[in-house]
Symmetry: D2
Subunit: 343 residues, 4 copies
Amino acid sequence: MTGKTRVAILGASGYTGAELVRLIARHPAMEIAVLTADRKAGQSMADVFPHLAILDLPPLVAIDDVDWDAVDAVFCALPHATTQKVIAGLPERLRVVDLSADFRLDDPAVYEKWYGLPHTETELQKQAVYGLPEFYRDKVKDARLVANTGCYVATALIPLIAILQAGLADPDWIIIDAKSGVSGAGRSAKEANLFAEISEGFHAYAVAAHRHTGEIDQELSKAAGRPVMASFTPHLLPQNRGILATTYLKGEADAIHAHLEKRFADEAFVHVLPYGKTPATRHVRGSNHCMIGVVADRQPGRTIVVSVLDNLVKGASGQAIQNMNLMLGLPETTGLEQLPLFP
Amino acid sequence: MTGKTRVAILGASGYTGAELVRLIARHPAMEIAVLTADRKAGQSMADVFPHLAILDLPPLVAIDDVDWDAVDAVFCALPHATTQKVIAGLPERLRVVDLSADFRLDDPAVYEKWYGLPHTETELQKQAVYGLPEFYRDKVKDARLVANTGCYVATALIPLIAILQAGLADPDWIIIDAKSGVSGAGRSAKEANLFAEISEGFHAYAVAAHRHTGEIDQELSKAAGRPVMASFTPHLLPQNRGILATTYLKGEADAIHAHLEKRFADEAFVHVLPYGKTPATRHVRGSNHCMIGVVADRQPGRTIVVSVLDNLVKGASGQAIQNMNLMLGLPETTGLEQLPLFP
Amino acid sequence: MTGKTRVAILGASGYTGAELVRLIARHPAMEIAVLTADRKAGQSMADVFPHLAILDLPPLVAIDDVDWDAVDAVFCALPHATTQKVIAGLPERLRVVDLSADFRLDDPAVYEKWYGLPHTETELQKQAVYGLPEFYRDKVKDARLVANTGCYVATALIPLIAILQAGLADPDWIIIDAKSGVSGAGRSAKEANLFAEISEGFHAYAVAAHRHTGEIDQELSKAAGRPVMASFTPHLLPQNRGILATTYLKGEADAIHAHLEKRFADEAFVHVLPYGKTPATRHVRGSNHCMIGVVADRQPGRTIVVSVLDNLVKGASGQAIQNMNLMLGLPETTGLEQLPLFP
Amino acid sequence: MTGKTRVAILGASGYTGAELVRLIARHPAMEIAVLTADRKAGQSMADVFPHLAILDLPPLVAIDDVDWDAVDAVFCALPHATTQKVIAGLPERLRVVDLSADFRLDDPAVYEKWYGLPHTETELQKQAVYGLPEFYRDKVKDARLVANTGCYVATALIPLIAILQAGLADPDWIIIDAKSGVSGAGRSAKEANLFAEISEGFHAYAVAAHRHTGEIDQELSKAAGRPVMASFTPHLLPQNRGILATTYLKGEADAIHAHLEKRFADEAFVHVLPYGKTPATRHVRGSNHCMIGVVADRQPGRTIVVSVLDNLVKGASGQAIQNMNLMLGLPETTGLEQLPLFP
């Protein structure tokens, strides 16, 4: 017996599943006890992700075949909708970080609006804690079920919640122009995500209609203390990893910058660049870091905030481990010290 | 004697120069008589651009060595500042399309502000016509000197000028979030533009400070009939070609869409997509087309306009040929019928 | 009535289909009369390929719904196996260029070996002419059915057939190390071809087992006048277009270079670079050109030949039009003058 | 005092320098005491490599300003030629791993042939140990100066030395077709390495003339026990990291595979895939691993070996740390446990 927390990763054949394996395999206080992938049950991770062939990992099994007695904690990286039932069926004693959207929205009606399905586990929903540790750290520590933030949402909202909480920008004047790498779309085989369809090109999608919008509204409204409806346009970048959000605000840039610097001074994973400098996605690739830049617009009274993170790490699997570290009473940065890979 | 217009391309060793060669070599009414490249004088285009090795082209010469008697018209693809003196020294009878920024700004003080140098040819400046044919067609026809639009500017302003001229959006509420492929930065050897620095990453640059801003203000102000100061943020995409501008406006989307459809119905190179659809840069690659999409934002009364073009074609060399066609009394589309290359 | 040849493109929703449309839409002696795509019947090309939205094209229909009276010639861009039956069912008077592998192999047993299915149209097979115009021009002119070469095969064999026919290399010592862009894999939605699976990486595949090998053996054996079995390893490049073959031979480089220069001096689409220089795929992108370089190896008596083409043009759709031009008695280069697009 | 080995990284502003920082910053037994970059002296690493801004690092200084008393060991990541004099001037007590080519070649005449300059430190050269730990482990342990292998060389030779030492392939019949990511070309600003020159394209370079050839000959000759001259063709991939070598041999594939499996069974960083499977560069990205595949060619008696590594890690900085670990008596894998980053 190692004394390590034995974790199950549900949905290990997707990109966030593989990223959980990459990070947890080197985590000093967790060990991978169970990997599930219903459609690929029976295969090895080496078959599904050859870059992980060098690890000694349990085989992929179906969720129904998991021996839960061998598990202390669960990362759930399944598609939304499927997730609700799976988590509802887990033994009560297991602490869970869910990477799907299923438990992020407080209001089941809002969930139904954006995801097109009624929420079937509304009681469980009430117990879920929103998993943005920089703002919900204390609640996460005590949670049984944490709903990990969406990747777009984390990118835009780490600076924005802080700004709105401090009353430094007009809540009615928020425009988030976001750009994401392709891995955010997952590993399912779709024509639209083929290399030849994506490379050497760029486009907006789901304009004014992206599912993460509900989550953005919810958290911005909490931060502002009143209903907020932001403009949010996602775009697809011809690159694997990274999200950059360019956010236009009505507010004073120097005050915003000064506040963010102070607000995040003690955060291990949030870095505010010197005033006037802006970050690049490549500077956080593979790491759990979020970088933020603040610039004054030419228009007096307008501010441009640029924030970046790696959608598979701080936008998904790294954030999930950060949350689980909190839930297990571990230092928040445990196993997340990887530096960015550049070039 | 062919009866074709004999053109000189000044600055043939850069990307816009090569693109002029690609297009003019197949133009039925122009022939390439002179190619200059001061630092590469004496070399062949096959040395400098092996993809053009299959053409029979004149050698690269220094500008001082050009026999102007062999030339009927000039495309000037030189860096800004250098350009002014060169064009001032050309024989009066030559018609000129200038691809640099040197003659785009009506006001020399604005030029000096953005480019950091006093304008030395202010008389010549007064004769220059701004080369956006969809709006200045009649003036271009009679011009001796046309100042081809900047690539970012063309992308954002083809829809925006039309919208402001029709009074369909609030001129004080314009946010242009633009993204460009790397070829827009030219061919000079800079660390920042190395493959390893650009690929698999994305960043904003010159936030609230890009030189094209002066040109944007100038043209939007003309369109609105009063001073306009837009927010403009450029970003660099990990791809060769293509610019996409996402523009946020206060105005009604359906009215804006209906107007753009009508306004551009007879334009050969401007295509307004069905309401609610948005274009991708890859769908105009290598062609002289500009595609525009209009979507209503969730915020009532706000509209999102997405426009794309190929920065080296409609954003530079194709536009230059379109202007020259007008100046020579040719059908505007002559030699510009290339279809987009996808994938 | 235009007097143009009315062509049908069968399988217009794939990449080679779209490329046929791009090229034929600007072809002065052909017009697109029919476009088929069984699974996407009823859609428009603008739906399926937005970069072609600017053209006025017939709708996609199912093959069974084609009015063959409106058609003079057929380009067949369907998957192998399916193709045989479709072509067998066409009216006799229609001339056909087939881009699939179904009629490339003279020997049905060889077809069955590599494609895993018996050939069902062996009589038709006997009439088929192998569509590499640089070597089979006269036969192509009189053919009713031309089997367009495979993309890997064209790349490697344009120089190799010429070399073996001249007896300038040892037929038992041929190693072809080939690298292809991803568009060669087609547009079907496969996990292996997702952007995130391909970008920033490179691998060999089907090592010593690729289906094009049968075609390579067949043509090299004809050229050498005795059975030849080459080593052939394909690899997948993180780029859309372009194949490069590095071929290792036992033979004298200067003699090989001199012969290739002479042999291809009058070929419009084959360019032999100066001795010692080698080409890049980017220098033929979007064009129907093949470029060849020859270098002496350090090992006395060994030669390295590097050849490139665009797999969708000279490796597929451009070659098909070149063949059809021959079949229709048109100049071979008609409609194929597009210059390479770089960068 | 930490008890950690205090290391200096000479040439910290290049890619291998940055990669040394990335790896050593998390190394449990080393600490970064000195960073040099002559042309960028006075700047911070955050200026030069923003992805490292989150670390607390010493400033960049000129080599002449280093206080060597604060240093226990040196990683030298300077250009060849410059390197010789620098290392010759270091205090004798410092152990050195040199990442340049300056001390890799035993014979100064061979150095002069490939690098075009006479070797000026021939006495020092005699002390240098060739830094391929899988074959020179014992010598490395005792060395004062280790000449880290070239990136192409490590990729091809890890399998090849083992094969030739076992007499399993004909030394006169070795063809290495190698493909490298662009970061191998370093960070200097050259037109040829601009994004727009590299992306969406592929080419061979330095065909039969690459500088690593001397090193390949040297090590293969030692392995075979007689002079070996391999064919070696490098190519440039449109990706940042990764080298793949496809090697054609005369020898029996099953025997070769069986031997490699056995030979590398205890090596932490060398992985032989199941017979018939081949690796991809993306599966070792960011890690110190080398993966090897073996396939029988169709030609009886010929074998194809495919090997991959990350040129900046196992091909440079990771290998350097592996060597230094040996020199310091540390477990060879210390600080090199990072898993590959995919996608």
